[in-house]
Symmetry: C2
Subunit: 346 residues, 2 copies
DNA sequence: TTGTATGCGTTATCAC
DNA sequence: GTGATAACGCATACAA
């Protein structure tokens, strides 16, 4: 269902409410601002009249003077992918509860940031910007977005951009992937796995490179060889084809670590339906994220879980705290991961 | 990555650009409005200076006078579900190309419209509202949204709300499901199917009730009995449990029509992994939508396709045409469906 | 083609 | 606690 709202006929305005309720324009403004001082009965009268006239304060006009648009922009390369759509959903819900609306922008799928898009977005004056593309240095964005304070999602203890010495202040969300990965490797080792492959995600993704780095590190700590790297891009189709290559052209593997759950599905389907191999009998498969589909019976995927609710809560905390105290010191939140054991290792 | 933009330090404004470029304030305004008349070299100078100063016109201030916010609101109960996330993605892309930004709101999952939410949303002055909840009568929304012109998605020739005689003008997108359903029923009949079950979606969904009505009608036309109705809600888990009920408590079926693809996945998994039945050997399964996951090898679902690109293009046409001609007669777009034959019937 | 004056709907400042 | 006034950043009507 689609509605188009005609703006030619003006809506009820604060002046109209004021006239109707026999009060001043300012009183109406105060009635809608809980911390403003106004006699209780007067406030109730105004709110009552406002309801009758179907009046709502105009956020654009309000933003013009308060410098708060109550808009949070999200830049997403692919709204459809399960993990990101979940995150959009949860963030929107959480921010909506705090009085912010989500402004959605689509970026190009190569994880780059179109300067045109940034300029365009800036016009809407978002109070905060959440970018699902990870490979932009803070200084570039700061140039576009005035005094922006970035929050970077950092995987394990790696410094983004190779330990950049950026001048920018930025907040951090640390995701400790090591724990989940260690549990996964221990499980694989317990089943006698020797040859591990890593199906990568998009090369530009920090999540991907850090997963690869940490898996290699943990395998070594357990006395296992470095993984064979299979190039992927987080999608099912690429994962499917890459798996066929790995087993038909390459030397195969005892276990495949996929950079995300959707990729793991592609690996599983290629193994079972095309290569006639058994999962977990012939090959073990482990994913990352723990999206709802991983619990579907056809996949029943063993995966390293990043708790979405925890992650969103942490992000919302970071956003709101900086919004309330713009000049505070860098803020930090930390998240842990754990292995969810299902049926693709065993 | 999250950025918070500090509004305490004001951005570059049109006045600043004007002063810097030695022109008047208005000239700057005109430079950013392609149809305004301005000497070419002057325009270029202004745009150049604007770039240097990192200036972008403030959409909020602009909206205050033009009565166009360039915001399109979407009210969605569940951003995560594949069909809806696809539609959000495609609509956002298409609207972004036309200069509109997507404003996302989460509704309660029972398909109802929270009056508080509507009031809240109204404050942002969207130029258009796309509601993914279907059971609201136009008059109710019109009450909230001034002179809104709804676009209703109508399935086959059914009148929404039982042929309501509403006073409201509204545009329509007709989705002709009959063709796809007829192809599906013919295919099932060809394989000797007798007892068909329909796994419903949410009861409040018009798409659901019309799918059920049309399937019943087409089955009758082919001399087949009315389908057994299995209550569902478009989700995997409910579909899974409902299928167990149908075959363990009820009398089973030769074929299951699911109200959407995700539901069909639940049906398939319950049949194969819990009831030890073969698909399509023992039971045929058909879905609705044709989401990307339906092409995944584990499901390989035969389904009635509603072409997303066509649908979004039609919606965008309706939105833009009414935006440009608010007083035009009711607009109509029509969409057809067709069966995509894969591996769950045979 | 260009500039001046005015208004969009709201909140902040300052009196009372 | 309350009301007048200015200001936010921009586009438009009108006059030049």
């Amino acid at each position: 269902m689609v509605l188009r709202t005609d703006k030619k006929l003006p809506r009820a305005t604060a002046d109209l409410v004021a006239r109707e309720a026999n009060v001043s324009r300012v009183a109406v403004s105060r009635a809608f601002n809980p911390n403003a001082s106004l006699k209780q009965e007067k406030r109730e009268l105004i709110l009552q009249v406002a309801r009758e006239l179907n009046y709502t304060p105009d956020m654009a006009a309000r933003a013009l003077v308060t410098k708060r648009s109550h808009l949070v922009a999200m830049i997403v390369p692919d709204v459809c992918s399960p993990w990101e759509s979940q995150e959009i959903d949860a963030l929107t819900t959480a921010l909506q509860a705090e009085g912010f609306a989500t402004l959605l922008f689509k970026a190009k799928s190569d994880f780059s940031m179109d300067p045109m898009l940034l300029t365009y977005m800036r016009g809407f004056n978002p109070d905060s910007v959440i970018a699902f593309t990870e490979n932009i240095e803070p200084d570039i964005l700061t140039g576009f977005l005035d005094r922006a304070v970035p929050i970077y999602v950092i995987y394990d203890d790696a410094e983004p951009f190779g330990g950049m010495t950026t001048s920018s202040l930025f907040d951090r969300l640390f995701v400790q992937q090591k724990e989940g990965i260690e549990q996964a490797v221990a499980l694989l080792k317990g089943y006698g796995v020797n040859r591990v492959a890593y199906l990568s995600g998009k090369q530009q993704s920090l999540a991907n490179t850090e997963r690869q780095r940490m898996i290699t590190q943990v395998l070594a700590a357990h006395g296992l060889a470095a993984p064979v790297i299979v190039p992927g891009d987080f999608t099912y189709d690429t994962a499917y084809r890459a798996t066929l290559d790995l087993f038909r052209v390459g030397n195969g593997a005892d276990a495949v670590f996929a950079s995300n759950d959707v990729g793991a599905f592609g690996v599983i389907d290629a193994l079972r339906h095309d290569l006639q191999l058994s999962v977990p009998g012939d090959v073990k498969v482990i994913g990352f994220d723990d999206i709802p589909q991983s619990n579907w019976k056809s996949y029943n995927l063993t995966t390293v879980r990043i708790d979405l609710e925890d992650r969103v809560r942490a992000l919302v905390r970071l956003i709101l705290r900086r919004l309330k105290a713009p000049d505070s010191a860098p803020l930090v939140e930390t998240l842990t991961t754990r292995l969810v054991v299902r049926g693709t290792v065993g």
